[in-house]
């Protein structure tokens, strides 16, 4: 199977859904003519025309409102908020309107919108272009939060998000855009949101992550395998809904759980996951812990930022330490 670049997977997913469904529209800052600052969306404007794919003012508040208003009146908007950090400007229509519409309207209508953003640290972008905003939305019923870990997953999850009738916050890790990998298997061309996957089978512990944390965990699992430690890696795919069943099933076999989160422990998804696993599966747990970032903003300097992030080495080191083995 031919290799697929992550940014091309995003573009292909958008193109295929724009082609398939005339109600899909795509807009954002510099996404049309320029093709996006991460070059994820070139050529779409030329192919689908300015009515379907268009540039907008730098007005995140208006973009989110426009997407919500369009979604409740017949369109399926996908819009880009360039950096996840800028989602702070877009929250009202997403949190106060889009997320609540299905419920408070007594199911009069749905809100099929997707908001895509580049997220994550490691690019030397500093504290306000590096955050991962998924957890800002973790506690909002009615929203879904998707965070793909590979090119194939990006394509399948974005197509699944666009076809989903609920508002979806879609996170794309900056350091995955240039990653290449296999194209999706035929049955994974569209991934319905809410189903985690076992990315690697193992017996000794379960490492749960999402987004770039998954390839990091897989690399750590490779290193640990050479030392006789068999790590299972679970890719959550979506932070909301959280597929607890897949995690519980894995932990029932491995009895150990490590959650790896690129973000602060306080208020993060990992603490919620450990709490949920403890509540439902305490009898299966011999150990559970979290590898997260410090409770500071994300630093700029390469030396500081590299030390800040939980990478594959940090994951492997944490596992060895917790299991009491030396490399």
């Amino acid at each position: 199977m031919s290799d697929l670049e992550f940014r091309v997977a995003i573009r292909d997913a958008l193109a295929e859904e724009l082609e398939r469904d005339p109600s899909v529209v795509f807009f954002g800052e510099d996404v049309a003519v320029a093709g996006g600052v991460f070059k994820a969306t070139p050529d779409l404007a030329g192919r689908f025309g300015p009515d379907r794919v268009f540039d907008t003012p730098i007005s995140e508040l208006a973009l989110a409102g426009a997407a919500y208003g369009a979604a409740v009146t017949g369109l399926r908007p996908v819009f880009e908020v360039m950096f996840g950090d800028f989602m702070a400007l877009a929250m009202d229509s997403l949190v106060n309107q889009a997320a609540k519409f299905w419920y408070i309207s007594r199911e009069q209508g749905t809100v099929p919108l997707v908001v895509r953003s580049a997220v994550g640290a490691g690019g030397r972008f500093g504290a306000i272009h590096s955050q991962t905003h998924g957890t800002w939305f973790q506690g909002i019923p009615g929203l879904k939060i998707a965070f793909p870990s590979s090119p194939a997953e990006a394509k399948g999850l974005l197509k699944g998000a666009i076809r989903d009738d609920n508002p979806v916050v879609f996170l794309e890790h900056k350091r995955l855009y240039s990653v290449t990998g296999p194209a999706p298997e035929p049955d994974q061309e569209v991934i319905a949101l809410g189903q985690a996957r076992v990315a690697r089978a193992g017996d000794d512990l379960t490492v749960v992550s999402v987004g770039k944390g998954v390839p990091d965990a897989l690399a750590a699992a490779d290193a640990l395998a050479g030392e006789g430690i068999s790590a299972e890696v679970v890719d959550l795919r979506t932070l909301r809904p959280l597929d607890l069943a897949t995690v519980l099933d894995s932990v029932a076999r491995t009895n150990r759980l490590l959650a790896v989160e690129e973000g602060p422990r306080t208020g993060g998804w990992a603490t919620g996951l450990l709490g949920a696993v403890a509540e439902a599966g305490l009898h299966d747990l011999d150990d559970a812990w979290i590898l997260a970032t410090d409770e500071t903003p994300i630093p700029y300097s390469p030396s500081l930022e590299d030390a800040f992030l939980p990478d594959a080495d940090a994951i492997a080191t944490s596992v060895r330490s917790r299991l009491g083995v030396t490399a």
Partner: protein, 325 residues
């Protein structure tokens, strides 16, 4: 409830008599809300539209049934003007199962898609963004989208971002600012620089007009022009309709910041009294007006009785799901 009909559809006298009846319905609905709130039947808070009826009704006279409207937390008038039935609207205020949103939404958050009401917005300025988005759909559907909002909302980022984007994209949106002179409790002069909301449209290359919001005829005429522009692809318009609310901002506000003289001055310009005089002057018979008033009152009384008799939603039977499948 049927959407308001245009003069072209049913003739001028008939259209305005119908519109007057709708204004009466809103006035009496809000009076009922006031009574029911004091009785403890309306929960939390509520924001009454009395005094501003000519704005919602005049604008909706210029709309088709399929057009979109986004209202505010002071939205009962917007809903009724667009065609929401009074009984399910009242039942919603009372938190009853027969409410237009099954009692899940309440006074500030009513949604009635069947009548083109995409929502009412408890966030000041939220309606502006909703109408912008509905405008994207409306542009493709040959429809028009209307945002109602107050003078306070003209100072929200929503106002500036959305008017700019609507103008750039030439969206079929009519932005209707109901300037009732107070942003909650704060007089306009202390909160709104320039004190001229309509003038702000010029910065966005958008036509605008200042309208006597207590004059049904004036509002309808301005709205018809704006709607016509929107429908023919000429883009958005800002209307500043100057009006006055009879009650305070919300049910916790007796409005001590307004002088008795000011209140009296505006009460003399009550849009209902003005509309009634105008109908008579236009040759509509007094008996015909009285008959419409009586039937409106009777219908509302029945709606109140029915809504009060309706059950509260049963938590055990509520089939709420987080997501639509």
């Amino acid at each position: 409830m049927a959407s308001l009909q245009s003069a072209e559809q049913v003739g001028t006298a008939r259209a305005y008599l119908e519109a007057y009846a709708r204004m009466r319905l809103i006035r009496e609905f809000e009076a009922a809300m006031h009574r029911l709130f004091l009785r403890g039947e309306v929960h939390g808070t509520t924001h009454l539209y009395a005094g501003q009826e000519a704005v919602a009704v005049g604008v909706c006279m210029a709309l088709d049934a399929e057009d979109y409207v986004a209202g505010t937390y002071r939205g009962h008038g917007h809903a009724l003007a667009k065609g929401t039935d009074p009984e399910p609207l009242l039942a919603e205020m009372l938190g009853r199962a027969t409410g237009v949103c099954g009692g899940r939404a309440g006074s500030m958050n009513v949604i009635d898609l069947a009548h083109g009401l995409v929502g009412c917005y408890g966030i000041v300025g939220g309606s502006i963004a909703a109408a912008l988005g509905a405008g994207l759909s409306a542009q493709r559907q040959g429809r028009v989208s209307v945002a109602f909002f107050g003078d306070g909302a003209a100072n929200q980022a929503y106002f500036h971002e959305c008017l700019n984007m609507a103008s750039v994209k030439r969206l079929p949106v009519v932005f209707v600012c109901e300037n009732n002179l107070y942003a909650e409790f704060t007089p306009m002069a202390e909160a709104t620089a320039g004190a001229d909301i309509a003038a702000r449209a010029a910065a966005y290359a958008m036509p605008s007009a200042v309208v006597d919001g207590n004059d049904l005829w004036a509002v309808r005429a301005a709205a018809a022009e704006a709607v016509g522009r929107a429908r023919s692809g000429e883009g958005p318009t800002l209307l500043e309709c100057q009006t006055y609310r009879h009650y305070g901002h919300s049910k916790s506000d007796p409005a001590p910041y307004r002088t008795k003289e000011e209140l009296e001055r505006w009460r003399e310009r009550d849009p209902l009294i003005g509309a009634r005089h105008r109908l008579l002057a236009e040759g509509v018979a007094e008996e015909e007006i009285t008959a419409v008033e009586q039937s409106t009152t009777a219908a509302l009384d029945q709606a109140v009785e029915n809504a009060l008799a309706a059950p509260y939603p049963d938590p055990a039977a509520d089939r709420a799901t987080e997501y639509s499948a």
